[in-house]
Assembly symmetry: C2
Homo-oligomer: 191 residues x 2
């Protein structure tokens, strides 16, 4: 198991705000705005209106304090996905595979409501409900995207994955996921 | 990275109670009572009194829904450590190394207060404060034990670690950790 390649580091602690969905002193702070999401939503004109007329709103933020990207270490983050719609489609993350495809990811939902939307490169598709206290297991090989189906609350999750996993956007920017989540007459519709 | 050895499974979700510190439908439910902790506390007579005169109280519980113990999968649990004293020593877990020593573990504290107490086989020692919203990173190679220093609240943590890591009690049952946590005049003393 490549013992010699796992750096020995000292223990540490990180302060999270489990309600606001942020990490104090994070070294990496990813912010995705509407303008970063071009090509991901069904209604490109609605996205363009958000960018131009509503001040390019933030879709999601991810906070990390990185560790060595070697076997045996674990990366972790807290992510906050804002509520909102692009046309009728709920705000969502881009979604990703892992660069090392056979690595899992765990999401512990701390606030809000939504879905984890998942697929495999071979065409399998699945969704799992996210709500406070629900942990979603994204198995190895499954690409995953979170979607906020709430009307006012952020979707806050704590996540963990093998530190060597990496991110791979693969076919997602081009093909997306097999289904999208829309708000129709106040209901969430998977279509 | 042993792709062929990582089983492909379907996504799933698990319901946790983040306040009570339990997992609904857990397949593994570990309960450690005072009588399971013989040899771990400094004051063996005080532990024996707890067992005999106070109905052998529960020290901690761990809930899991297992996944395949292969590279790329992640094991996770919610653990609840009760408040209490054995003589002057705070209730604690046994502590463990991982059988694959170069694997980390993440603890996200959800309720209560205490410490993660850690050591390496080479004699390094560290503690990290645990309190709601604080995440403690237990790096690869570090044995770890949690200690509840509160007076009334359980110490509730969500944890994640590589699924192949395994548990190794190693030298802990015989040598313990270099220091213990005691309540003296209402203060936590590391000695």
């Amino acid at each position: 198991m490549q013992t010699q390649q796992t750096p020995l580091i000292n223990p540490f602690g990180v302060e999270l705000d489990l309600e606001k969905g942020l990490m104090r002193g994070a070294k990496n702070h990813l912010v995705r705005r509407a303008s970063d999401m071009r090509g991901y939503y069904a209604d490109a004109a609605a996205l363009q209106r958000l960018i131009g007329e509503e001040n390019d709103p933030v879709h999601y933020e991810v906070f990390e304090v990185p560790v060595p990207e070697n076997y045996g270490h674990l990366m972790y983050c807290i992510s906050t996905l804002r509520p909102g719609l692009v046309g009728q489609e709920y705000f969502m993350t881009k979604g990703h595979y892992h660069s090392i495809p056979n690595t899992a990811e765990i999401y512990l939902c701390l606030r809000g409501e939504g879905y984890m939307v998942m697929k495999t490169a071979e065409g399998k598709f699945a969704t799992e409900r996210m709500t406070r206290g629900r942990m979603v297991y994204v198995p190895p090989f499954w690409a995953h995207r979170s979607v906020n189906t709430g009307t006012s609350e952020p979707l806050v999750s704590f996540c963990a994955y093998p530190a060597e996993a990496g991110h791979n956007y693969g076919d997602i920017a081009v093909q997306g996921f097999p289904k999208r989540l829309f708000a129709k007459n106040g209901e969430c519709v998977v279509a």
